[in-house]
């Protein structure tokens, strides 16, 4: 199993290495760019930094990170299946391994590959927060920030991985089904609430709060906070 895992990891690396290069550069650079831009935009060269003003600016600029996490997860998931799809699964079928075992191994090795941009983001966030003289009352949270990024990227990675593992027809059915559920539920829930005085939650609210899958995207994405 260890040999197969290593072999799979090598294959995943070969498949994703050119994709990883820009991702790593963005993940290292974006936290620094966001913090520096936030300080420059609100304070210019003025010192000391005002906590409330810096947080307001970071609150706006940090909205980029959920998108980066989503893009990173999706790209790594697509890269994981890319080679199999192009070669019509010949390599996978030639292996003495069951289909679920193969998918699980691929999912796990892809998750390991995903750690590379996450580590890059952690380094970027750590440098970014260390470079700014933080006012009293503010603290740097590079690890919590990177952990949130990892969870969000993993979630998107697993979702796209599961969709890419199936046929195009299955993917279409799932995506269209989910979109329809969100739309119909979004309209029906408030209507039923007012008509029958019952407490309902729309599907969008459901997925955005615990235990919904997108809960991790809804929290704070600040590297610096109180």
């Amino acid at each position: 199993v260890k040999r197969r895992a290593l072999e799979m990891l090598r294959l995943q690396w070969l498949s994703a290495k050119w994709l990883l290069l820009p991702l790593v550069l963005i993940c290292v650079g974006l936290p620094q760019a966001v913090v520096r831009f936030s300080v420059r935009a609100t304070h210019g060269t003025e010192q000391p930094i005002v906590a409330a003003t810096l947080l307001e600016a970071l609150d706006v600029t940090s909205t980029l990170f959920p998108y980066l996490a989503g893009i990173t997860g999706a790209l790594i998931a697509l890269a994981a299946w890319n080679w199999d799809h192009r070669t019509h699964h010949v390599y996978a079928l030639s292996l003495p391994v069951s289909r679920p075992g193969y998918a699980l191994l691929k999912l796990a090795t892809g998750a390991v590959i995903l750690l590379i941009p996450v580590l890059a983001l952690l380094i970027g966030a750590w440098i970014a927060t260390a470079m700014v003289p933080l006012p009293d009352g503010l603290r740097a949270y590079p690890f919590a920030f990177a952990a949130r990024f990892l969870l969000a990227a993993l979630l998107v990675y697993a979702t796209v991985f599961a969709l890419a593992a199936g046929t195009i027809r299955t993917t279409l059915v799932v995506v269209v089904g989910v979109v329809l559920l969100l739309i119909v539920g979004g309209i029906a829930a408030p209507f039923l609430e007012t008509q029958y005085l019952i407490d309902l939650t729309t599907p969008i609210e459901m997925i955005g709060r615990a235990p919904g899958p997108l809960r991790v995207f809804a929290g704070s994405w600040l590297m610096i906070d109180v």
Partner: protein, 355 residues
């Protein structure tokens, strides 16, 4: 008597007669005016009585059911809703009642309604509170709590309301936001308060004089930052920012009516809630008693000196510091569960079977 003197005497007599006639005319006109005003007053009074009678009639016609909940009267067109709303308010009121004490009489008879038609007009002098259970989760509890707090906020003395800067009466929670405000405020008083200087806390909370130039609240540099943030145009603002003229900064700040207080009205509200909690039974009634200042009112409500109240409030604010890792840990647990589900789905692919 010369002819000239005769003419003069005649002229004087004529003028005095004319003046007398004019005064008589004025008196008559005034009398007519008073009569017409009395008629107008009687007419208005009759109309008002008719309107009041119509209001009472309409209230009786529209409100099909009423119920008493604490000091409130719940009125609605749907009896089931009346019972729901009254139960929610009565439940919440039980928590407030000891604190409010005798002051409950001040809000007695306030009307609460959920879906009363727009045509409903409450009897004069009655306050109507809208029960709005729009929030999810424990929405009835939230709506009932909001109604009670709104009613209590309305009887707050003017100085307390002005001190709260428009913030509502928030009697539970809010300490995490108070911490955030205190930790990030661009005020020397708030920063010293954050570092445990109680006198600075009293000043930052607006319970002591900030000084003619607000020097107890802000340094000149902090005022300059305030001017910059407001994005004011050229002139004195430019002199304040670019030429770093402190006098210009003060002039600009005075022109827009003073700086923002170091801590928001909502944070001040958490101090009020803390004082009421410290005071226990009847603390709200004591808050409403006559007093020279808001600080004195808080002391009476809490039954403690102001520095002691502020000190314990500050300790609670520090305890309210948001845990930045908690959100990640909770989200992490659920994310792992979703990952396991997605892994199961990925393992059930159909690609191999279809080629």
């Amino acid at each position: 008597m010369s002819s000239l003197a005769r003419v003069a005497v005649t002229a004087c007599l004529l003028l005095s007669c004319a003046a007398g006639a004019q005064a008589q005319d004025a008196r008559a006109a005034l009398g007519r005016r008073i009569d017409s005003l009395k008629i107008e007053f009687d007419r208005q009074l009759a109309e008002q009585r008719q309107l009041d009678s119509m209001r009472a009639g309409r209230a009786r016609a529209i409100a099909t059911d009423t119920m008493t909940a604490g000091p409130f009267i719940v009125i609605d067109t749907v009896p089931a809703e009346v019972a729901q709303v009254a139960a929610a308010i009565a439940e919440r009121w039980r928590e407030y009642e000891p604190m409010v004490g005798a002051a409950a009489a001040r809000i007695a008879g306030s009307i609460v309604t959920w879906r009363l038609p727009a045509a409903y007009v409450a009897p004069r002098g009655t306050t109507v509170h809208q029960f709005a259970p729009f929030m999810h989760g424990d929405r009835f509890e939230h709506a009932a709590d909001f109604v009670i707090r709104s009613a209590l906020a309305e009887v707050l003395p003017g100085d307390v309301r002005a001190w709260l800067h428009g913030a509502g009466l928030q009697l539970r929670g809010g300490m995490d936001w108070a911490y955030r405000d205190l930790a990030t405020s661009n005020s020397v008083a708030a920063q010293q308060c954050f570092d445990d200087a109680i006198a600075a806390c009293i000043s930052a909370l607006g319970l002591a004089d900030a000084g003619r130039s607000w020097e107890a609240w802000y340094t000149p540099e902090q005022l300059r930052h305030d001017v910059r943030r407001r994005g004011l145009g050229p002139g004195r603002a430019a002199a304040c920012i670019d030429a770093r003229d402190d006098t210009a900064c003060l002039e600009v700040v005075r022109a827009y009516g003073g700086p923002y207080p170091p801590l928001t009205g909502a944070v001040r509200g958490t101090l009020l809630a803390h004082a009421l909690e410290l005071g226990g039974a009847g603390s709200f009634a004591r808050l409403l008693e006559d007093a020279a200042s808001v600080g004195e009112r808080l002391e009476r409500a809490a039954g403690q000196p102001l520095p002691q109240i502020v000190s314990s409030w500050r300790a609670r604010v520090q305890e309210g510091r948001p845990d930045m890792h908690a959100g990640v840990a909770t989200a992490g647990a659920w994310t792992l569960a979703w990952l396991a589900l997605l892994a199961l789905l990925a393992m059930r692919s159909t690609r191999w079977r279809l080629g």
